[in-house]
């Protein structure tokens, strides 16, 4: 058993203990500093390796390097973001999402992590969440080159909306993007196409006209303008632009196909300017004939009574000759009947790829 100590021995014990605390505090501080410095250096090396591997397209290996870097410098947001981006590129989406969730808990307003999360969610097909994160990225905090990054984020959002055929909200993204992206030809082209997809071909045409004015030898500008005019129903203007494309780039099969379609529409459409009444009437008969032929070909027999009646009526009209004085009235009836038969055909047989009759009837029904 220890002997009772005097106050002096207690004082000495306290002094020694406190001195030991001070000494070990110093030792620990030195050890921690050394370890942190070494860890930081090793983490930086791993990060550089990871970036190099990313550049070589070795995303899985890069993710491994970034994980090593993060194990050494856990709080480093750059490494975390790099890891998430590598995981995204390597299609390891759940882990990328988990990594970004963790990162966003620490840096919820950062533009870059929000953009990366939006990309992950977009790839996972989570449409609403992805759009939300794109918005957070657009309005988030960017440490450098904020304007360009915001345009990039909004531009990606526009692409995502176009790819998902989401015209709702697309125009709302395009209008600010048009303001921000002025001067950038590639973005303008993308914008113009997006305006067409968003149901605003007039704005698209306007942008393409500007592009054509600035780059008269750019076939893409004419192709885009052709698409915009086509979408607006200006088939004559569309034809002129597709012809311009083929002059600059004769091998452009897509533009040739659009040119043919424009010519077919122009040859079929009774509403084209400068046509005589007789010509308009003949075109309406042609449309009715095409509609009946297409429907008879695809509809299974026996047809329903209604459909049978409509086709019988159409055949009667096609067999009879109408008086010139009643051709205007007959033309309207022909177009209505053709439209009804075409609608039945579409609902029963499914939509076909864009055809001249489809375009003409759609325009006539507007």
């Amino acid at each position: 058993m220890a002997k009772p100590a005097s106050g002096l021995s207690l004082l000495r014990t306290f002094s020694l203990t406190i001195a030991a605390i001070a000494v070990f505090f110093l030792i620990d501080t030195v050890l921690v500093r050394t370890e942190k410095a070494e860890s930081r250096a090793a983490a930086a090396r791993a990060y550089e390796n990871g970036m190099r591997l990313m550049g070589q397209g070795r995303y899985v290996d890069a993710a491994g390097e970034f994980e090593d870097a993060l194990a050494l410098a856990r709080e480093n947001l750059t490494y975390t973001l790099a890891l998430a981006q590598a995981l995204l590129a390597a299609d390891r989406l759940p882990k990328a999402e988990a990594t970004l969730s963790d990162l966003l808990q620490r840096d919820g307003t950062g533009g870059a992590p929000n953009l990366a999360m939006a990309r992950v969610l977009a790839k996972e097909g989570k449409f609403i969440d992805a759009v939300s994160y794109y918005h957070r990225a657009i309005y988030g905090r960017w440490t450098s080159d904020a304007a360009r990054n915001r345009v990039q984020a909004r531009s990606e959002l526009v692409d995502f909306l176009v790819a998902n055929h989401s015209t709702e909200g697309l125009l709302a993204e395009l209008l600010p993007l048009q303001q921000e992206a002025l001067g950038d030809l590639a973005t303008q082209k993308k914008l113009a196409f997006a305006f067409i997809a968003a149901g605003s071909p007039a704005r698209g045409a306007e942008l393409f006209r500007d592009i054509v004015r600035r780059e008269p030898q750019d076939p893409d500008g004419y192709a885009g303008l052709g698409e915009a005019e086509f979408a607006r129903g200006n088939y004559r203007a569309a034809r002129a632009n597709f012809e311009a494309v083929l002059r600059l780039r004769p091998s452009d099969a897509a533009s040739r196909q659009r040119l043919n379609l424009s010519n077919q529409v122009l040859a079929l459409d009774p509403a084209q300017r400068g046509l005589s009444r007789e010509e308009q009437y003949q075109r309406s008969l042609k449309i009715l004939e095409l509609a009946v032929a297409s429907a008879t070909e695809c509809l299974a027999s026996p047809m329903s009574a209604t459909t049978r009646d409509l086709i019988d009526s159409a055949n009667n009209i096609l067999r009879k000759r109408t008086q010139p004085t009643r051709q205007v009235e007959a033309m309207d009836k022909n177009m209505q009947l053709a439209d009804m038969i075409w609608q039945i055909r579409r609902s029963e047989c499914g939509a076909t790829s864009q055809t001249a009759i489809d375009l003409v009837l759609s325009r006539a029904s507007q």
């Binding site: 058993m1 100590a5 020694l16 620990d28 050890l31």
Partner: protein, 573 residues
């Protein structure tokens, strides 16, 4: 200072703070040192031959040091701490502390598949013991400060301050109601604070969020409990068998035996580097779901063998950390299979690895409460509690069924040390005054004249009798006081007067001179010793003046099977 010495409570509190701070800093230094040295000794991606050579040479050097200079620093440190606490009045020498620090640093830095928590506990307990003894505290106070050092050490080593306190009480003290709870909490908090001051708020394991996907998933955790229980049993039995075999080797080979562990871990490390050292970085990978079934199964098996070999051959290091590693591997394997079979209703393997850590710990160390709280502290996620409890308790039950003696007790027994088990302590707790008390044969009224009282008790074998007044028990009148009455001229006085005189002469004894029916018999013995009475009144807790009976020394001895006749006792007296 002398005033402080007089106030034991204040002194203990101040020492708890100092011990907490010092132990925290020493353990942080220990961890950092072993980590930095290990990174240099066998760096990741280093040559394979190095992974064989370093542990082999390391074990050779530490084996010699342990044999020649620090024999008490061998092994984990937890059985040694318990032995010091229960057998050696809490005495752990500074030499043991220094040896543990040095040898464990070398051992862990050279890749032994052992843990750092057990050694930290012994270092912490040792420092507390050294400080307490140098401060001149009584052996009782020294013993009280040892668990304080343990909780400070574990709080720093594992960054889990609550689990550290629980571990000290549940495993080291074997009593969750121990009176050192307050000081253990204080030192644990101080140590944890120091840890954060030095290292920052960086948890030991970084894990992604845990969640129970479906209530049916609890069935998977039950399976994990079974696997964990069986795995724990295999580990403990293998370790004990190997240790027994090493103990049977000639004594001259003791210094060389650790090389067997070093060579084993080196050969394994050549093919699977993650089996070397503490292995927490790989555990973290598994916790984050980077699980390849074959790898985790292989590493789990290799770690069981490597740790058993390293420990049983006499290297310095603990089994606390390896338990967690093995548990994480078992959990990762079960989780991986469960997730493959039922992907829509199960969490990822990382969640199972996390629960597996607690499960193996509960199965190996047999501290179920500590294991639950420890994992909870690691994850800081409440939702993990229920699966953890299910899994832990199953593992605990299976392990208790197949391996009766808990590992630390079994290790101590192999060394010829018999530690008090939880069962023994529970047995002691069950021996209550109520089992040995009897009705008082003579009760004296306070107004009884002294001479009449002498007449009533002259044939009694008791040495004290209860005295009552209208309110109840007034005191215990000792035979010595009664016998002195005629000599001192008190024959005309009554019993109350004698008692008042007795209390004036010895004011302290009356406070301790009673017991309650639920008191333990050992406490009754203590009180008999402090009061000098062989007969104590048993009083109600609701009313301390309500006499329920008396308890005699002879009755207590009879209860424990030490039959002693009244005549014998009288003769001895």
């Amino acid at each position: 200072m002398d005033e402080l010495r007089q106030s034991e409570n204040h002194l203990t509190l101040i020492l708890s703070l100092l011990v907490g701070a010092l132990v925290g800093l020493v353990v942080v230094a220990f961890i950092l040192l072993t980590g930095r040295l290990a990174a240099r000794m066998y760096p990741a991606g280093g040559a394979g031959w190095r992974r064989i050579l370093v542990p082999t040479l390391g074990s050779l050097v530490t084996g010699y040091l342990l044999w020649r200079f620090f024999p008490s620093a061998r092994g984990s440190g937890i059985p040694q701490t318990k032995a010091a606490l229960f057998i050696q009045d809490g005495r752990i020498t500074f030499r043991t502390v220094a040896g543990k620090f040095l040898c464990c640093s070398a051992s862990l830095a050279t890749g032994m598949a052992l843990g750092r928590e057990g050694p930290s506990v012994q270092i912490g307990a040792g420092l507390a013991s050294v400080i307490a003894r140098n401060a001149g505290l009584s052996s009782k106070q020294v013993k009280a400060l040892v668990p304080v050092g343990c909780s400070a050490a574990l709080a720093a080593a594992f960054n889990t301050p609550i689990a550290a306190v629980l571990f000290s009480l549940e495993e080291i003290m074997g009593d969750l109601n121990a009176t050192v709870l307050g000081t253990a909490v204080l030192s644990s908090a101080t140590s944890w604070m120091v840890l954060h001051l030095v290292l920052g708020d960086d948890p030991l394991f970084h894990v992604t969020g845990y969640r129970l996907i479906n209530p049916w998933e609890l069935a998977d955790y039950a399976v994990l409990g079974i696997v964990g229980g069986l795995g724990s049993t295999v580990f403990v039995k293998l370790l004990l068998i190997l240790r027994q075999r090493f103990a049977q080797l000639p004594r001259q080979t003791v210094w060389l035996q650790p090389v067997a562990g070093g060579l084993t871990v080196g050969i394994m490390g050549y093919f699977a580097p993650n089996v070397m050292g503490v292995g927490y970085s790989f555990v973290e990978q598994v916790l984050n779901g980077d699980v390849v079934l074959k790898t985790v199964v292989l590493l789990g098996v290799l770690k069981i063998i490597a740790t058993s070999m390293c420990y049983s051959s006499g290297n310095a290091g603990g089994i606390f950390g390896p338990s967690l590693f093995i548990g994480a591997m078992m959990g990762g394997a079960v989780g991986s299979i469960a997730h493959t079979l039922f992907p829509s209703v199960t969490a990822g393997p990382g969640a199972y690895a996390l629960v597996g850590m607690g499960t193996a710990f509960a199965g190996i160390v047999r501290t179920p409460l500590t294991s639950v709280i420890m994992i909870f502290e690691v994850t800081r996620d409440y939702t993990i509690i229920v699966p953890l409890m299910v899994s832990n308790l199953i593992a605990y039950f299976i392990s208790s069924r197949f391996q009766k003696v808990p590992i630390y007790e079994a290790l101590a027994e192999q060394d010829g040390v018999h530690l008090p088990t939880a069962e023994a302590r529970a047995q002691a707790g069950r021996s209550q005054v109520a089992h040995a008390m009897r009705e008082a044969p003579i009760i004296l009224a306070a107004d009884t004249p002294a001479y009449e009282a002498q007449e009533r008790v002259k044939d009694s074998l008791l040495n004290a009798w209860p005295v009552v007044d209208q309110q109840g028990l007034y005191g215990m009148l000792r035979s010595a006081e009664l016998e002195k009455a005629p000599v001192n001229g008190y024959a005309a006085k009554n019993v109350r007067d004698l008692l008042n005189e007795q209390s004036r002469n010895d004011p302290l004894h009356l406070e301790s001179a009673h017991v309650h029916p639920d008191h333990t018999l050992s406490l009754a013995l203590e009180r008999m010793g402090s009061s000098g009475l062989r007969t104590l009144p048993v009083v109600s807790r609701a009313n301390v003046r309500q006499l329920l009976g008396i308890v005699l020394l002879d009755d207590i001895l009879d209860f424990f099977g030490v039959h002693q006749s009244a005549d014998e006792s009288e003769t001895e007296e």
